[in-house]
Symmetry: C2
Subunit: 407 residues, 2 copies
């Protein structure tokens, strides 16, 4: 079993990096706070005697091997260490530090794995500062060119490539230089299912598709007191109709579709002016690609009808689009068996959130292990997973790695 | 008749003040742009040889008199020169500049009116930066204390009293120092009725009640991908339900109630986070006090039900509440007669918008004259009234003033 004290204290230590004076934790990709987190991670990777490599998009790798052919077919473990704004301390960090802990445990027990083992921390998984999210792993898997990614303009107007250079993490390795035999990502669930059912381990067999759009509705600004209702072209009312429409679709989907309007803005945004413009985002998800497309088409048709009825014009822009991913059945089985061997109940489940595993699944057999999030809270400083669950998850990961490396 | 070239060119000139590089006109109360507009107005008032007075809330008065007892019982004409964001050039300015034009015309014809005539430009009629709207005239009529008004905090965090001092318009006169014999406000209709019917003059006999509330809905921030629909406490969805509810009420009111949600804001306002907070404003109007109260009660009941159904908490804050106002029957008759004498069809009507006249009606006989707004557009740079209609309205005002001052 892993050294639980070491894993838990490192999680706390990494979690303190990026706290501001009000104890709010924010380590956005390629910021000074991210650099401090990366420096800490690298010092632990070096302390374990692993070879450190950084690729052009800033992904960090620690490789444990005595082989010549070290980049061929290692087992890769990992996740990310960047965070959202006002974040918890588990999202991402738990998977990276558990990967390193598994390697250290195997080293200390003087196991000699049949294949190399690598731990990875992918750049900009959260997508808060630069879009799309899961960017480092997407580039690594060949889904986005390094150049396009490095040219990304951040919400703060910065250029990712310049920021990576500035913090000293613009590496020289070509993304994809390690060809994994398998990738396993241990993560907090970030949802309520395992916690509600009291199941300690999730064997994640798939990950739902994600579609992000920005919708812009243009109506006509007019006086709130003098404009008869039937003469209004109210962009805000039309936006409200889209929000309730999306909730109706989610309700009618038998728990399959989730839809969120998380951002909105009216113009001119004055109490007594009918909104001329409403801009908002839609986050649509469904585990089934066909159904996700049906949702997108239904929304597009609804917007057409709505534009006619409310006499407004509507345009949409796709911000992010990832198809659902099915993970490797064999690895999912291995995860279930590992849990069962340790006397831990497990549950096959779908990931509601996007993860680096979703991208790496394009280049090698991949699966994920989930542990419970208390009350399903994440992307929130109240994000919390019990120590016993964190340790159990890391031990399942150790067991899965042992199995896959033929120890 | 008035000097139409002078009136129209001054309207254009004042309309250029506060234009930004993109030709967007914004002169919010007590900003640098408002100061520039006020300075221009004062130079015209001085050029007409009027006595300039400024009261503690920044209302500007130009008084034409040779009497000793100059503050007693003048005919007061006026409106405001502050604007909304991205405004047209007629709203308010037309009434102030026409008042001044009427005085200049009477001076030039060497008429000697039987009582003083004053022109007024009231502070912060629009209520965009500081609330409530019609603030200067409300304070002038004794409906709000000067101190409370000066302590108003703006949407930009500024304090009105400090801003008036900064721009040099914190006067020393006590609001109410002039006791008008009557107040007449000439204004664009800002609605579609006169334009649609082709009627050049509105004799405004009443003004509908106005209720502004800020509604704050508190839900729970959570992950957009992992949180099942039925476990969400989505503040943004609840806000959308209020917006569509209000439209249903307006539709069911037989053209009596109008309801507008003009501002909205979500927190944390991130694509993949369920909104924890939605803040928005409601502008509710009805010409009948009892019906307006019924709308307010119906909304309050709906919010209670909604809080229970969506499992969110909802709080409301009243920002503005003005009862409907009935104008002075005699002055309305004088307006109708003046129009008729000039061969202009007129129509008795209700004002949908709030106006300074609504406040001044508390202290003296008051009425309003409306001219058509093309397509009913206002609070929008497309706001437009034909020159012939502008001139006709100002001539009706001249005739009404002549009648009331016994010329
Ligand atoms: N794991 C995670 O929170 N990723 C962010 C991408 C998403 O919105 O699902
Ligand atoms: N006339 C005018 O636009 N006043 C603003 C107050 C209102 O909202 O009616």
């Amino acid at each position: 079993t892993i050294n639980s004290a070491r894993l838990l204290s490192r999680l706390q230590e990494l979690g303190r990096i990026g706290l501001d004076n009000d104890n709010i934790r924010t380590r956005l990709a390629a910021t000074d706070e991210d650099k401090a987190g990366r420096d800490q991670l690298i010092s632990w990777i070096k302390e374990a005697g692993l070879e450190v490599e950084i690729d052009r998009i800033g992904n960090i790798f620690g490789i444990w091997t005595t082989e010549e052919n070290k980049y061929e077919k290692p087992i890769m473990l990992g996740s990310h260490i960047d965070t959202v704004i006002n974040a918890g301390m588990y999202d991402g960090c738990y998977g990276v530090l558990s990967g390193l802990e598994v390697i250290k445990t195997l080293q200390e027990k003087r196991f000699k794995p049949a294949r190399p083992i690598a731990v990875a921390a992918f750049t900009n998984e959260e997508g808060v500062r630069y879009q799309p999210d899961m960017m480092g792993s997407l580039v690594y898997a060949g889904g986005l060119s390094v150049e396009d990614a490095l040219n990304s303009i951040g919400t703060d107007g910065t250029v990712l490539g310049k920021e990576l250079e500035r913090i000293g993490y613009a590496g020289s390795k070509e993304p994809g230089f390690i060809k994994p035999h398998a990738y396993i990502e241990l993560h907090i669930e970030q949802g309520p299912i395992l916690d509600k059912e009291g199941t300690p381990i999730g064997a994640v067999e798939n990950l739902q598709g994600i579609s992000w759009q920005r919708i812009t509705i243009t109506g006509v600004a007019n006086h709130a007191g003098t404009t008869p209702t039937e003469m209004r072209h109210d962009a805000g009312l039309a936006a409200a109709r889209v929000i309730t429409y999306l909730r109706n679709r989610a309700n009618a989907s038998n728990g399959q579709t989730v839809a969120t309007v998380g951002t909105i803005c009216f113009e001119p945004n004055a109490v007594n002016v009918v909104p001329a413009l409403a801009t908002f985002t839609v986050d649509l998800r469904n585990p089934n690609e066909e159904r996700l497309q049906q949702e997108e088409e239904a929304l597009a048709n609804y917007l057409k009808e709505l534009a006619a009825v409310e006499e407004v014009t509507i345009s949409t822009e796709q911000l992010v689009r990832f198809s659902p991913v099915t993970f490797d059945e064999k690895i999912v089985n291995v995860i279930e068996e590992a849990a069962s061997k340790q006397g831990l109940p497990s549950k096959r489940m779908t990931s509601g959130a996007g993860h680096d595993a979703q991208m790496i699944a394009r280049i090698c057999p991949t699966a994920m292990i989930f542990v419970p999030s208390v009350d399903g809270i994440s992307h929130n400083p109240k994000e919390y997973t019990k120590d016993t669950d964190l340790v159990a998850g890391a031990n399942v990961l150790l067991n899965v790695v042992s199995n896959l490396t033929g120890i």
